[in-house]
Amino acid sequence: MPQFDTHFFSSLIFWEFLSFGILFWVLWKFAFPPILQTLDERERKIKESLEQADRHRAEAEQKMQEYEAKLKTASKEAETLLAAAKERAQRIMEENEQRLRTETQRSKEDATREIDQERRRAIQDIRNQTTEMALLVAEKVVGRSLNDADHKRMADEALASIAESRKT
């Protein structure tokens, strides 16, 4: 086998040591450190990103829960508000109705009373005028004048008797 030819051994050994040494030095100084550093850096970065993502997710979840709770309280509040408003509206309506009814009642009563008064006054007027007219007629008929008090008494008696007769 040509490989066992010792003639070349010395040069091969020499150049092997030299070239391996050079390669070792170059890789050790210029290739491995930056590659290892990049790997470490990437590992650190990935770890950091994952942690950050985890943290963000936890934060988002917490916020979500907060919002849900807020929403729940808000809807509850709205419900109570609505209920209160309904109740108030009902009360106001009832009050209005009540007031209207009483007012109507009162104005009706007022009107009745007024009518009654008017009627009574009218009757009184008619009575007075009738008395005066009767007196006038009577004066003309009797030809003499009675004093006023006599007239009145006599007219009243006459009217009372008329009213009495009308009643029966």
């Binding site: 010395s10 040069s11 020499f14 092997e16 391996f20 890789l27 210029f30 590659i35 990049t38």
Partner: protein, 249 residues
């Protein structure tokens, strides 16, 4: 076939150089070592230069390589082995590039030279022995006695373990050398058959050549990987004598 199938492994000195009586002539294998070193250094330094968070293709390859070697070291030696990372990674890169570049027709496979693989294997073994004695002192000789061996078996066990220890660098060197030599020899023989067979029958060995070439690419990776893993295991053994430390095999 008038030529030996091992003919491609022959070396010829292009430029004879003599350094203080030491013959360091330039031949094809030496030139291939330069190519391996130049290409590997260029690609890996370029890969390290880009340093992007979203890696470029070359950067990805470089990172893949670094993580691959780091995982091998962590698996076999534990965290303490990481200080050997530059040496082991360079070893892997050198062997892998030698194996792969040798597959290109017309080039030379550096690792098909037994002396090259032997130098690597002996260096690795020497590191493991020296490390062992530095870390454990005389107690490192206990590597010759597997844990739990009864006293009366020692005369038998120590020679056996000694042989197994000595077989380590030899097997390490021979495995890589033999794989590279055999693969290229088979390729050469098949291609010779393809040329010699003519059109009528020659296509068959030619098709085999193509398939074998694919297989050889795989073997180039696997042998580099095996060499690296065994390096880690041997140095790791010296590191953790009988798995006494945090990491056990």
């Amino acid at each position: 076939m008038e030529e030996s199938p091992l003919h491609p492994f022959e070396l010829h000195n292009y430029i004879p150089i003599n350094l203080f009586g030491l013959d360091i002539s330039i031949n094809k294998a030496v030139i291939m070592m330069w190519v391996v070193v130049g290409l590997a250094a260029f690609l890996l330094v370029k890969a390290g230069r880009s340093r992007r968070m979203v890696p470029t293709k070359l950067q990805s390859l470089g990172e893949l390589l670094v993580e691959f070697i780091r995982d091998i070291i962590l698996d076999t030696m534990g965290k303490g082995g990481l200080k050997f990372f530059p040496f082991i990674a360079t070893l892997f890169v050198f062997i892998l590039f030698s194996n792969l570049l040798g597959l290109i027709p017309g080039t030379y496979t550096v690792t098909s030279q037994i002396i090259v693989t032997a130098v690597f294997a002996l260096t690795v073994y020497a590191i493991s022995i020296v490390m062992g004695f530095i870390l454990h002192g005389v107690k490192f000789l206990g590597i010759l006695v597997p844990p739990g061996t009864p006293g009366w078996l020692l005369p038998l066990m120590i020679p056996i373990e000694l042989v197994s220890q000595l077989a380590r660098p030899i097997s390490l060197a021979v495995r890589l050398f033999a794989n590279m030599t055999a693969g290229h020899t088979i390729l050469g023989v098949l291609f010779g058959l393809a040329i010699g067979g003519g059109l009528l029958i020659g296509w068959l060995p030619f098709a085999f050549t193509i398939a074998m070439n694919g297989l050889e690419v795989g073997i180039a990776f696997i042998q580099a990987y095996i060499f690296t893993v065994l390096t880690c295991v041997y140095i790791g053994d010296a590191f953790h004598l009988h798995g006494a430390d945090d990491h056990a095999h």
